[in-house]
């Protein structure tokens, strides 16, 4: 008896893989499956087909209407900018956005329904123990969020940005279903670890059905907290495998916009292999954005070589990432404690909405025993959810992912964004007074809500983005920006460096929320401390031999890495030096 519509006994359509025949663990035996795939498509297909380098330009005719001589300021301005070098030929436009070969580009006119189904997708690449644990929390909370919004169990465009809808009835390699009911949701993800522990745990846990064996790359021996082992040894060994699986994942996307890498900086696999994957992504998918969530080790890290690993990884992040969201364990820990105190401090405890905690998994589709780091990792998961919310859901002021780097990265290397999430929890006495809404904005700029140990208020802002979700209007945004502006220092040439987005769907358990992303010189101390700890080891050449005996690893790697970091710090120093009144350069003085 064949009953394909087996949704019946599932409580929620967000229970993935309810159509899978056979026990789910059966697929474990298939792992690692890497040989049976069709050959990867040829390179050319992956580059989006943009029109050539042609650039229509109409120069203003010389004899245009002139009054009072040469157009004043601009003419003089030319000198001020210092155009010593000859004007360069424009480089061919480099479009972003991976387009799968099957895209319906030539289709003449898309009816509205098609228009709806078209959206961009993102792929999560989780590397190493930390990356996979955080990733695991992300997928759990992403399912929770979509389940809360999507009550009918229809596979919609919002879901499609992180999940495939797969018909698994005919086995693992089911085809994608682009419309209709949810069959089996598969995460657009690649899980990489050089030991099996964490990944196996995921595969045996409640999330096993959102991944399949072809999304995994594991080894047994680990990277021994050695960047070189991860980056050089495993990188070399697994390169083909990784590329193939990335391509496979990308093929399932209709318009791949962004890769999110989650990794830690201190260990061997996350930092070494994670940054190796970053380089691969740049080579293979130059047009797809690369956002990296990097967990930085704390000062009392128990990994002795973590400063080496972090600094070596930093060089790669400097050169190959579009945006990096640095996160420090200490900050996550402080936030978890703060919430804990709040919940347990007697009278308030009863009125905090449990599922509104930024650390909570309550209400997730997967009722799991919480593990110790889950609370901390949930914060990062929520960061990613809020970051992508405006790309997934509608709002009155959309903020696509490609707008983030466009607005927040004024210079290519200064792409480190300090993030903060507010509110950390919601009280149950609703009827939100606007004062509490304003409190949310104030908190986002306070030291103890930042996800790294930093104080943006007393440093220099290069740019700042506010991603708001829920019932917030443009007038609330404007009021709060006006209110906060006087207490913040912005770089002289970007005094109004605010970017805002309004997404109408709030996170689970909240009526509204805010993610603030700051490109701020307050990241500098974190980097300086890292440099100091690196130098302490490096001066004595401690542990160097562990690295140098790896093929392809030379001492120059270390010196280049530390000078890359020093350069970065210097760039921040230069900007900091412009801080303070009177150092700005008004237009008039340029002429």
């Amino acid at each position: 008896m064949l009953l394909p519509q087996t949704h019946g006994h599932s409580t929620s359509p967000f229970e993935p893989a309810c159509l899978t025949p056979g026990p789910p663990c059966a697929r474990l035996s298939a792992h690692p499956a890497s040989t049976a795939h069709p050959p990867p498509p040829t390179d050319g297909i992956f580059h989006s087909r943009l029109g050539g380098g042609e650039r229509p330009r109409a120069k203003p005719a010389d004899g245009t209407f002139h009054r009072g001589g040469e157009g004043g300021r601009a003419a003089r301005g030319r000198r001020a900018v210092g155009r010593a070098r000859p004007p360069q030929r424009p480089s061919p436009p480099r479009g972003r956005g991976f387009r799968a070969p099957s895209s319906n580009e030539e289709q003449p006119l898309s009816p509205p329904s098609l228009c709806v189904a078209a959206m961009t997708q993102s792929v999560l690449v989780q590397v190493g123990q930390c990356g996979n644990q955080v990733g695991c929390r992300f997928w759990d909370l992403a399912l929770r969020e979509h389940a809360a919004v999507n009550k009918k169990g229809i596979y919609d465009e919002a879901l499609s940005s992180f999940f495939r809808n797969v018909d698994t009835r005919s086995g693992e390699d089911g085809r994608d279903i682009s419309k209709g009911k949810i069959c089996s949701l598969k995460a657009r993800a690649l899980l990489i670890d050089m030991e099996e522990g964490v990944v196996n745990e995921i595969l045996q846990g409640p999330l096993r059905d959102v991944f399949d064996s072809r999304q995994l790359i594991t080894d047994v021996s680990g990277s021994g907290n050695n960047w070189a082992v991860g980056h050089k040894l495993y990188g070399c060994q697994y390169q083909e495998n990784i590329v193939e699986k990335l391509r496979k994942t990308a093929e399932h996307c209709d318009c791949l916009q962004c890769f999110f890498i989650i990794h830690s900086m201190g260990g061997g696999t996350g930092s070494g292999l994670g940054t190796f994957v970053l380089n691969l992504l740049e080579d293979e998918f130059p047009e797809v954005y690369r956002f990296v969530t990097s967990v930085y080790p704390s000062g009392e890290d128990d990994v002795i070589t973590s400063p080496y690993n972090s600094v070596l990884a930093m060089k790669e992040l400097n050169e190959h990432a579009d945006c990096v969201l640095p996160i420090e364990n200490e900050s996550l820990f402080d936030i978890v404690n703060k919430i804990h105190q709040m919940v347990n401090s007697g009278k308030l405890g009863s009125i905090v909405k449990q599922n509104s905690l930024v650390t909570s998994s309550a209400g997730s589709t997967k009722t799991v025993q919480e593990k110790p780091f889950d609370a901390m990792n949930n914060i990062i998961a929520n960061l990613l959810l809020n970051l992508t919310s405006s790309a997934r859901f509608e709002g009155s002021l959309n903020m696509d992912l490609n707008e983030i780097s466009m607005n927040l990265v004024p210079f290519p290397r200064l792409h480190y964004l300090v993030s903060s999430l507010t509110p950390l929890y919601t009280l149950t006495d609703v009827n939100v007074p606007s004062r509490r809404l304003d409190q949310m904005f104030s908190d986002a700029f306070s030291r103890d809500h930042q996800l790294i140990q930093a104080d943006p208020k007393h440093s220099l802002y290069l740019a700042c983005a506010l991603l708001v979700r829920g019932n917030v209007q443009v007038s609330d945004l404007r009021r709060n920006i006006e209110r906060l502006k006087p207490s913040l220092h912005f770089v002289s040439w970007n005094q109004e460096g605010w970017k805002t987005g309004l997404c109408s769907v709030p996170p689970v358990g909240h009526s509204h929320s805010l993610l603030a992303l700051a490109n701020n010189t307050c990241v500098k101390p974190t980097f300086m401390e890292l440099k100091e700890r690196f130098m302490k080891l490096y001066k004595k050449k401690a542990h160097l031999h562990h690295y140098l005996h790896i093929d392809g690893m030379e001492q120059s790697c270390f010196s280049e890495a530390i000078s890359s970091l020093s350069d970065l710090i210097e760039e921040y120093n230069e900007l900091d030096a412009t801080k303070g009144p009177g150092t700005g350069c008004p237009r008039s003085c340029l002429y």
Binding site: L50, G51, G53, R55, P56, A58, P60, T64, F65, G68, G71, G72, R73, A74, G77, A80, V81, R83, P87, P90, S91, P93, G95, R96, G97, L109, P111, P112, C115, V116, A118, M119, T120, E157, D254, Q257, E394, S396, L397, N398, D400, N402, E403, M406, N407, L408, P410, Q473, V474, S475, W493, N494, Q495, E496, W498, K499, T500, C585, R587, L590
Partner: protein
């Protein structure tokens, strides 16, 4: 004659939708407090202008919707369809999957050339539906990537493909702060490019409209929808049918052509500002009465004092006395605030508009010396009341209205440019420093032209 509206980007599509809504509700929701015959011919003319007929009887907007991401367009289409009052043509839209990311260069140099043929095809189809085409009305913001970059590109294409038609660009000036960080770059590039291919730029400043929402409309929590509705109302008050010239002849003249003829006497000056009076929440309308002399007195002072709304007008500002030297170089502090015009157009709608005396607008002191005040001022009117306002007046002005915002904007963009911030994001898509400099030069020229009026 008909106008084809081209809605570009998130902002353009949201506003376009509200404009058609406003026009539709003016035509269907009110009887215009005039004779039945009057109302019918108004109705007819408005319909020809903005809508085409379909078999089903539901008017179809003469519009092309363009965006680089799908969300806004699909939302707009479905809301319009659900209204039942009017709708968009199901096939008259174009969207892609991934937006322009606030990058003007991406919209102009990448998306533009890539999608030119398909967008222009849609426009051509829409144009062919018109018996008599007056021209194109494009709605876009200057801040983002799609509206601004692609919008500038599409405007150029329109100019090439329809050299005989008029193009009026409606441009949304971004909030001074808080929307898009690179908005000043995008704006400089947009304005300079539009200045080459557009016939006129009709500008709405978000900050101004926001203030109107707060102070005149008494809205506590202002949403983009509120802002867009005010803009739509103002646009409707200009573009709904009206009798041009001296006598009431007929409504169906070329709306864009007449506008250009009266307001843009010289290609160097094509920045138009718009002022409306009165504006108030709908539920206060019933308790208010207006007199033409009062409205006109306010409107005139709004013009010469460059006030953006009827509240908080500086009544001290006076036109420079005719005796004082004409090139007002040694201007006193008072005439410093004085807003000199090139050309003004006042549109009166409502009861007894024939009794209104517009003599105060014909004062030569209001205008630049090189234009005859008789040519510089025009009055259009109709007894048909607009959108539930018993009497209303609109002023479209080619004057120094936008001089200060423009100077500010160019200043901020220049400040950023001098430190080379964000330039790499543009060169990535083929817009070089050279292009920026060209744009700065072009706008400095506009600033200096308007300054020396």
């Amino acid at each position: 004659m008909s106008i084809v509206t081209v809605q570009l980007g998130q902002c353009g599509n949201q506003i376009g939708h509200e404009v058609f809504n406003a026009i539709c509700s003016d035509v269907h929701g009110t009887h215009g407090l005039c004779s039945k015959k009057e109302n019918e011919s108004y109705h007819e003319a408005s319909k020809e202008r903005f809508f085409s007929e379909e078999k089903s009887g539901v008017p179809v907007a003469r519009a092309v919707l363009v965006d680089m991401e799908p969300k806004v367009i699909s939302q707009t289409l479905s809301i319009a369809a659900r209204s039942g009052c009017w709708k968009y043509d199901d096939r008259s839209h174009f969207c892609q999957k991934q937006g322009s990311g606030n990058n003007w260069a991406n919209g102009y140099s990448v998306h533009g050339p890539k999608h030119k043929d398909r967008i222009m095809n849609l426009v051509r189809k829409e144009a062919e539906k018109c018996d008599r085409l007056s021209g194109f009305f494009t709605i876009m913001s200057m801040a983002g990537g799609t509206g601004s970059g692609l919008g500038a590109f599409v405007t150029q294409c329109l100019k090439d493909a329809f050299p005989a038609s008029f193009i009026l660009n409606h441009v949304i000036w971004p909030y001074g702060t808080g929307e898009v960080i690179v908005q000043n770059y995008n704006s400089v590039l947009t304005l300079s490019h539009l200045y080459r291919s557009s016939d006129a730029l009709l500008v709405h400043e978000n900050d101004v409209i926001h203030k109107i929402c707060a102070q005149l409309m008494n809205i506590k929590q202002i949403s983009f929808r509120d802002v867009n509705q005010v803009i739509a109302h103002q646009l409707g008050s200009v573009f709904q049918p009206i009798y041009t010239g001296a006598g009431p002849l007929h409504y169906s003249r070329s709306p864009l052509g007449d506008l250009m003829e009266t307001l843009v006497p010289h290609p160097e000056f094509k920045m138009l500002g718009l002022r409306n009076i009165p504006q108030m929440p709908e539920n206060s309308l019933a308790y208010s009465t207006f007199s033409w002399p009062g409205l006109i007195k306010h409107l005139r002072q709004m013009l010469i004092a460059n006030a953006t709304m009827e509240e908080g007008i500086d009544w001290q500002v006076r036109p420079p006395r005719p005796g004082s030297s004409i090139p007002s170089k040694h201007s006193t502090s008072k005439s410093l605030h004085f807003n000199t015009s090139i050309a003004n157009l006042v549109l009166l709608r409502g009861k007894d508009m024939h009794s209104a005396d517009l003599g105060s607008f014909q004062d030569p002191a209001l205008y630049t010396s090189w234009l005859n005040p008789q040519d510089a001022f025009n009055l259009w009117k109709t007894p048909r009341a607009f959108n539930k306002y018993e009497k209303s007046a609109a002023l479209v002005s080619n004057s120094q209205f936008l001089l200060k915002p423009l100077d500010n904007l160019v200043g901020k963009a220049w400040n950023m440019f001098a430190s080379k911030a964000y330039i790499h994001q543009y060169t990535k898509f083929g817009i070089e420093e050279e292009d920026f400099l060209d744009s700065f030069t072009a706008l400095e020229q506009v600033i200096s032209s308007y300054t020396t009026l």
